[in-house]
C-alpha cells in the first residue's frame, strides 16, 4: 500500500452545542501537513470553538477529530501533539522568559542541558535573544507574544494553534508580525492553524482559508480564490468589500453569460456560470474593478474594449459620498435606480482625487471578467 500524504488534522462531521446554542455545525475539513491554515469568520461564528476542540479544551458534541491519523476523542489537552498560542498569550507572570519557554520541557522531564539548548534556540527563532531573565511584566505585548510563540515552538508540536494572534497588537506591529509569522512557519515547517476575524490577516498569511459562518464552513479556498471567486454572498461580503446586486440570469452559454439586474443594468460575463436559465442570482462587483469616467466617456471606453455587447457593463450615477484614503479614494455613487454602488479609484497621481467631487454626474464601466455570479 502506498502511503498517500495524510492530512495532519482531519475534522469529521464535528458539531459542538452549548445548551441550545450550536457553535459548530457539522464541520468536516482536512488540514494538510505543513500548511498555514486560517479559520476566518466574524466573532461568535464558532471558529475559536473549533480551534479549542483541536487543542482539547472542548470536546465535540458529535463527530471526531483526528490528529496525524489518531482519534483524539479521549485524549486530554496535555497529551495532544499540538500546542496553542493564546489570545491573551497566557505567559506565566511568575516566571522569567527562560522558565516560561522551558516550562513544557521541564514538565516532560527533558534534561537540563537539553532544555537550555532548546530554549536558547527557540528564543533565537523568535528574535528574543538577550531577554532570558526578563519578567513578563517588563515586556511589551509584542514581546510577550514572542515568548508565547517560543514556549509552544520549543515543544516541537505537529501543529501550532494560534488564537487571534495579532488582535492585541497595534497596526504597524501587526503588519510586521504577519510577515514574521509566515516566515517562521516557513522556517520551522510546522503546520499552523490560526483563528482570526481579520480578513487582511487571513489573506496575507494563509495558504488556505476556511471561512466560517454560523458554525458552518462557508468556503474553503486559497486567499486569492476567496477574493476573486467567492462561493456565496456571505464570503463575497465578508472578504473584502463588494457591491451586490440581485438579478435574473438571461443568458448562460459555455463562453458567455448575462444577468439582468434591475438596480444596476445589464451585466455581461465572458464565461458561463452553469445556472438554470431565468434563475434568481446575485452579481458581486468589487469596488476596485469599476472604472469611473466623466458622463458619457464610460460608454466610449467600454465600446472600444469590445468585450461586451452594446449597453452592457455600464452604469450612470451621482457621487453622494467620498472618502480619501491616501492610496485610493472611495466613492459612494447613487445609481439611477436609487441603489448605492461603491467604487474605489487608485490615486495614481497626486491630483487624481480632485477629478470628481460630491454631486458630480459620472459614468462607470467594468470588464466582462470582473463580475462574479453568485447562486446563493
Amino acid at each position: 500500500m502506498t502511503e498517500a500524504k495524510q492530512p495532519i488534522i482531519q475534522i469529521r462531521n464535528v458539531s459542538k452545542r452549548f445548551g441550545k446554542v450550536t457553535a459548530v455545525d457539522n464541520v468536516s475539513l482536512d488540514i494538510r501537513a505543513g500548511e498555514f491554515f486560517v479559520l476566518l469568520g466574524p466573532s461568535g461564528c464558532g471558529k475559536t470553538t473549533l480551534l479549542r476542540m483541536i487543542a482539547g479544551f472542548e470536546l465535540p458534541t458529535e463527530g471526531q477529530i483526528l490528529i496525524d491519523g489518531q482519534d483524539m476523542s479521549h485524549v486530554p489537552p496535555n497529551k495532544r501533539p499540538v500546542n496553542m498560542v493564546f489570545q491573551s498569550y497566557a505567559v506565566f507572570p511568575h516566571m522569567n522568559v527562560t522558565d516560561n519557554v522551558g516550562y513544557g520541557l521541564r514538565i516532560s522531564g527533558v534534561s537540563k542541558g537539553q532544555i537550555r539548548d532548546r530554549v536558547a534556540e527557540a528564543l533565537e527563532l523568535v528574535k528574543l535573544g538577550g531577554f532570558e531573565d526578563r519578567m513578563p511584566d517588563q515586556m511589551s505585548g509584542g514581546q510577550r507574544q514572542r515568548v508565547a510563540l517560543a514556549r509552544s515552538l520549543v515543544m516541537r508540536p505537529k501543529v501550532l494553534l494560534l488564537d487571534e494572534p495579532l488582535s492585541a497588537l497595534d497596526a504597524k506591529l501587526r503588519a510586521q508580525m504577519q510577515f514574521e509569522l509566515a516566515d517562521l512557519q516557513d522556517k520551522v515547517g510546522i503546520t499552523f492553524v490560526t483563528v482570526t476575524h481579520d480578513q487582511d490577516e487571513a489573506l496575507s498569511m494563509a495558504s488556505r482559508v476556511a471561512v466560517i459562518n454560523k458554525g458552518e464552513v462557508a468556503q474553503l479556498a486559497p486567499p486569492s480564490d476567496l477574493y476573486e471567486y467567492p462561493a456565496n454572498r456571505f464570503v463575497a461580503d465578508f472578504v473584502g468589500s463588494v457591491n451586490i446586486f440581485e438579478g435574473t440570469l438571461t443568458l448562460d452559454e459555455p463562453d458567455k453569460a448575462a444577468v439582468d439586474c434591475p438596480g444596476l443594468g445589464k451585466v455581461y460575463l465572458n464565461h458561463g456560470v452553469t445556472g438554470p436559465h431565468g434563475a434568481n442570482v446575485w452579481i458581486a462587483l468589487r469596488p476596485e474593478k469599476i472604472y469611473l469616467h466623466v458622463p458619457g466617456a464610460g460608454k466610449a471606453v467600454r465600446a472600444a474594449a469590445q468585450d461586451a455587447p452594446d449597453g452592457h457593463n455600464l452604469a450612470r450615477g451621482t457621487i453622494k459620498g467620498m472618502s480619501y484614503l491616501g492610496d485610493v479614494t472611495l466613492y459612494d455613487i447613487q445609481l439611477e435606480g436609487g441603489q448605492i454602488i461603491r467604487v474605489s479609484r487608485p490615486n495614481l497621481s497626486r491630483h487624481d482625487q480632485e477629478d470628481f467631487t460630491w454631486d458630480d454626474k459620472v459614468s462607470m464601466h467594468w470588464r466582462a471578467d470582473s463580475p462574479v455570479v453568485l447562486l446563493s
Binding site: F57, M84, F86, F92, P93, Y103, S108, M135, A148, R151
Partner: protein, 304 residues
C-alpha cells in the same frame, strides 16, 4: 499614582480636610486608649482602682515566665493548626466558587458570608448544641453505631455493645473545630479574590504544554494565588491567636488560650498592669508576623 491630584504634598488643604476626621477618630478612640493600656503595663497596683505607673518591667518579667509563655506558645500552635486546616478546607472551596457557573457565584459567596450576619455567641452555642453529648453529632454517630450493630445480628454476629456518647466538647479538639468554623470565611474570601483574578488561560496553557492537573496546580495556581494565601493566613492566624470566646465556651480546663488569661487579669484578678503586659506581648507578636509578611512581599517585588 503620581499625577498632581494624587500627590498630597501639592494639595495640602483638601488632603487635610479629608484626613482630619479619620485621624482624630483614630487618635481619640484607638491610639489614646492603647497608649494608656501600654503605660499600665509599666505600672503596679497601688489600690483597688489605682495604678501607679512606675516604669517597672516586673509585669513583663512575669509575663515571660514559663507558666504564661507556655500558654502563649500553645495559643500560637492552636492558631497555626486552625489556619492550616482553614487553608486545606478553604482552597478547594475557593477554587470551586471560582470555577462555578457565573450565575451561581454570588449565591455561593453569600453562603460563605452568611455566618457573618449572625452573632458569634449564637453561632458558638449552636455549634455546642450540635456537639454536646446529647447533640445531633452524637445522635448521628449513635444511629450509625446501632445500624452497624443491627447489620451484625443479620449476619449472625454478636451485636455491638450499647453506644456511649463521645465527649466532643470541652477539649482542644472542640476549640480547634470551633475556631476553624468561625475563621473559615476569612480564609476563603481572600483566596477567592486571588483565584478569581487568575487568568484561566494560564491554566489552559499549562495543560497545553503537557502538565497534568496536579502539576498545573502546584506550578501555576498556587504560586499565582500566593498573595491570597498569605493574606488568608494572616487574616486567619491573627484573630485566631487572640481568640477568646471559642476557647472560653468550647474548651476544657486545659484548653485556655492567651486571651482567656488576659481576660482573667482584667476581671477576676483585677491586675490591670499584668493584663496590659500580656496584651502587649500578644500585640508585639502580631506586629512581628505582619512585619515578616511585609518584608516577604517587598522581597517578591524587588525580585521582579
Amino acid at each position: 499614582m503620581s499625577g498632581p491630584m494624587q500627590d498630597w504634598k501639592s494639595q495640602k488643604k483638601p488632603f487635610a480636610a479629608v484626613a482630619t476626621a479619620p485621624v482624630f477618630w483614630l487618635a481619640l478612640f484607638f491610639i489614646a486608649p492603647m497608649t494608656i493600656v501600654w503605660l499600665y503595663s509599666f505600672g503596679q497596683n497601688a489600690g483597688p482602682a489605682d495604678i501607679d505607673i512606675s516604669g517597672t518591667l516586673d509585669n513583663y518579667k512575669r509575663a515571660t515566665e514559663w507558666l504564661y509563655l507556655s500558654i502563649f506558645l500553645k495559643s500560637l500552635a492552636v492558631a497555626a493548626l486552625t489556619t492550616l486546616i482553614c487553608l486545606i478546607i478553604g482552597f478547594p472551596v475557593a477554587m470551586a466558587i471560582t470555577f462555578a457557573a457565573p450565575k451561581w457565584r454570588p449565591w455561593l459567596l453569600l453562603g460563605i458570608m452568611l455566618p457573618f450576619w449572625t452573632n458569634l455567641l449564637i453561632r458558638t452555642y449552636a455549634l455546642m448544641a450540635l456537639m454536646g453529648t446529647n447533640g445531633y453529632m452524637n445522635k448521628g454517630l449513635g444511629g450509625l453505631w446501632e445500624g452497624a450493630s443491627w447489620l451484625r445480628t443479620l449476619v449472625g454476629m454478636q451485636p455491638l455493645e450499647a453506644w456511649t456518647p463521645v465527649q466532643l466538647l470541652y477539649n482542644n479538639f472542640a476549640v480547634v473545630l470551633g475556631l476553624v468554623y468561625v475563621h473559615l470565611p476569612f480564609m476563603v474570601l481572600p483566596l477567592y479574590s486571588a483565584l478569581d483574578r487568575l487568568d484561566k488561560s494560564l491554566i489552559e496553557a499549562s495543560l497545553d504544554l503537557g502538565a497534568g492537573h496536579f502539576k498545573t496546580f502546584m506550578q501555576v495556581v498556587v504560586p499565582l494565588a500566593a498573595p491570597g494565601i498569605v493574606a488568608g493566613v494572616m487574616i486567619t492566624l491573627i484573630p485566631a491567636l487572640g481568640a477568646y470566646l471559642t476557647p472560653d465556651l468550647m474548651g476544657g480546663t486545659d484548653s485556655q488560650m492567651i486571651a482567656n488569661v488576659i481576660e482573667r487579669q482584667f476581671k477576676r484578678a483585677n491586675d490591670w498592669p499584668f493584663g496590659a503586659a500580656l496584651s502587649f506581648l500578644l500585640i508585639y507578636a502580631m506586629f512581628i508576623l505582619i512585619a515578616l509578611q511585609s518584608m516577604r512581599s517587598n522581597k517578591v517585588k524587588e525580585a521582579r
